[in-house]
């Protein structure tokens, strides 16, 4: 017995070149009856959540049936009214799809599928993460507000004769806050993003641990154009390994700076071109020097290739390293240098992946290993000699199941200084190893432990090492 007449359902036409959909049949009311019977049948208790989902589906079906009844009634009334007025809806250009966009006279619920109005104003949302580290260090690196004890900086590993043994540090400074906005416009989506953390210095561990916020990102994106501060285009972020430590391994590229960047997709991949904040760093007899004498922005280009197998990138960097001095007997000097890098993430099996990065150049300096090396060496007469730097890492991530995974990461970085002009107590090389176990009981939480080993060697032959055990919890919201 058919309780209700079958009602044809119109859906919006498909976009693009997809084949047309086969005309669907109507929904007899006993669909609902059957669905109710099905959901009333006994099912294992542990599947309550899915039963609830099915019940919601049944509820949706019932609601849709009511909508369709209301719509049919509306159309019938409209047709009758048109007949009385001497017109027929189909003849006045009111096809099924257009009719479906009209709100049913007897139903206050909108039909979501046919709402073609863009959302009004910008869509603004905020979020962040609460990040907690409990760390035990074999050696204390100290640093401003003890940062070197909280995040791995290979250049801060104490060498022979310095630092203190055994130290515990707790930190929530790597917590982050962000705000983003998407503004639909007539010419496309305009988006903006600001993110801060609390690694901005200041604070102490005596009373309130009230560290200053630090700007991480502040940029706007329109199509492929990015303006503002974010990660350098020289870096393929997909290759960034998952370590508990916020900084990552020795040899990693990690720079955020103001930039102007354009990315264009081609059939073979993406091409990125960018102009970025220049900053020359030089080694002098008195130590490291960051000068404000730059005139030409850093020029960055990157090619990205991706597929189901993963992705990899090839990047190039051109920089002018420049120094000028007010002192009469010191000449101004500038040198052009460059660097190249290859990096990526390759999927292995269903879940595992291999992440890698290798970079080399004579203007790599501050881009590698958290500014552990300078771009060049400045002699007493103001002449710059660029420093060749090599760095990279390899990280294999294994997923034990859908929520439990481990990463084994090794990194290395080395600089070849001209020791005729460079002081002997500067950094020569670093290497590090991380191994961790992370568990995510939900998609937005992670807890885990990590062991980190780091080694630092100076040009004068002294070295130092660090063992770190780190517990981390993270909640993203």
């Amino acid at each position: 017995m058919i309780l209700f007449p079958a009602i044809p359902l119109s859906l919006p036409a498909r976009s693009g070149n997809r084949p047309p959909r086969i005309q669907r049949r109507g929904i007899p009311a006993y669909t609902v009856l059957f669905a109710l019977i099905v959901t009333a049948s006994p099912l294992p208790a542990e599947e309550d959540g899915e039963i609830s989902a099915i019940q919601r589906e049944v509820g949706d079906l019932r609601r849709r049936l009511e909508e369709l009844e209301a719509r049919l009634q509306f159309l019938l009334e409209k047709k009758e009214a048109a007949a009385e007025a001497g017109t027929v809806p189909g003849e006045t250009g009111t096809d099924d799809r257009m009719a479906a966009t009209e709100k049913p006279a007897t139903n206050n619920e909108r039909i979501e599928v046919v709402n073609t109005e863009p959302p009004p104003g910008p869509d603004i949302s905020a979020g962040g993460r609460i990040y907690f580290d409990a760390i035990y260090n074999s050696r204390s690196g100290g640093g401003g507000s003890n940062r070197a004890d909280q995040a791995f900086n290979p250049a801060a590993i104490p060498v022979e004769g310095s630092g203190e043994d055994h130290q515990t540090a707790y930190s929530a400074r790597d917590s982050r806050l962000w705000v983003k906005a998407h503004s639909p416009t007539a010419i496309g989506d305009l988006a903006g993003y600001i993110e801060i953390d609390f690694v901005g210095g200041g604070g102490n561990e005596r009373v309130s641990n009230s560290y200053n916020p630090r700007l991480r990102h502040a940029y706007a994106v329109y199509k492929g154009l990015t303006l503002g501060q974010t990660y350098t285009g020289f870096l393929n972020l997909s290759a960034y390994p998952e370590t508990n430590d916020s900084n990552g391994p020795a040899g990693i590229l990690n720079i955020r700076q103001p930039l102007l960047r354009y990315q264009h997709p081609f059939h073979w991949g993406d091409l990125t071109l960018g102009l970025e904040q220049p900053e020359t760093t030089l080694t002098t007899a008195g130590g490291s020097l960051a000068v404000d004498d730059d005139r030409v922005p850093d020029i960055v280009t990157r090619l990205d290739f991706s597929g189901d197998w993963g992705n990899w990138s090839l990047a190039g960097l051109i920089r002018q390293i420049r120094h000028d001095s007010a002192e009469a007997f010191v000449a101004a000097d500038s040198q052009w240098g460059g660097a190249v890098s290859a990096s990526g993430r390759i999927y292995i099996g269903d879940r595992d992946n291999l992440r890698f990065s290798l970079a080399y150049g004579n203007a790599l300096g501050r881009y590698l290993s958290f500014n552990s090396f300078d771009d060049g060496v400045l002699d007493g007469r103001g002449n710059i000699t660029l420093t060749d730097v090599l760095g990279g890492f390899l990280s294999y991530q294994h997923w034990w199941d859908e929520t439990l995974r481990s990463s084994l990461t090794v990194g290395y970085a080395r600089a070849d200084h001209d020791l005729l002009i460079a002081p002997a107590e500067i950094n020569k090389s670093f290497y590090s190893a991380h191994i961790n176990l992370l568990w995510s009981p939900t998609l937005n939480t992670s807890i885990g432990i990590e062991w980190l080993y780091g080694h630092r060697k100076l040009e004068d032959g002294r070295d130092g090492e660090l063992n770190r055990f780190q517990f981390t919890s993270s909640y993203k919201f």
């Binding site: 859906l11 669907r24 099912l43 099915i54 869509d123 998407h182 639909p184 998609l443």
Partner: protein, 151 residues
């Protein structure tokens, strides 16, 4: 008892439909089922979920990556839906108005509608609606699997 073979056919067909996408296409109707990309759908959903574990990507970049994955998801879901739609027509002995057939088609219709919704949110760059739309699509998938995948 007449319903039993129909049910078996549906389960068998859906099981076949779930197999790898690497099968060579053929001209008979069962080959259409074999071409269903549901394993691809699961792979995409797994990758979407795993984006939540990314630590260094700015959220805006994650939005772009989610949109890319959801675009692939839409294509795979529409492909799945097209194959599901043909199911009653190629299953011998299936009565078009049987309860299973009607429910299956109703859920198939819902899958299609939610996929179209998702596509529209993509076109509008409505990232907030994308998340909710994706969750609804997952519910529909789960409901259909619960009712028709008996293995």
């Amino acid at each position: 008892m007449k319903i039993l073979p129909c049910l078996l056919l549906i389960v068998f067909s859906l099981a076949r439909a779930d197999e790898s996408v690497t099968r060579a296409p053929a001209s008979d109707s069962h080959a259409v089922l074999n071409a269903v990309h549901s394993s691809e759908l699961r792979t995409i959903m797994a990758r979407l979920n795993r984006l939540s574990y990314e630590r260094e990507y700015p959220e805006l970049e994650l939005d772009r990556m989610r949109a890319e994955q959801i675009r692939a998801l839409v294509d795979a879901a529409l492909e799945l839906d097209r194959s599901a739609e043909r199911l009653p027509d190629i299953t011998e002995g299936m009565e078009p108005e049987s309860e299973e057939s009607i429910t299956f088609r109703a859920l198939s219709r819902q899958l299609y509608q939610e996929t179209v919704n998702l596509e529209k949110h993509l076109d509008d760059a409505d990232h907030s609606a994308l998340k909710a739309g994706y969750r609804r699509l997952q519910h529909t998938c789960n409901a259909c699997h619960k009712l028709f995948r008996r293995q």
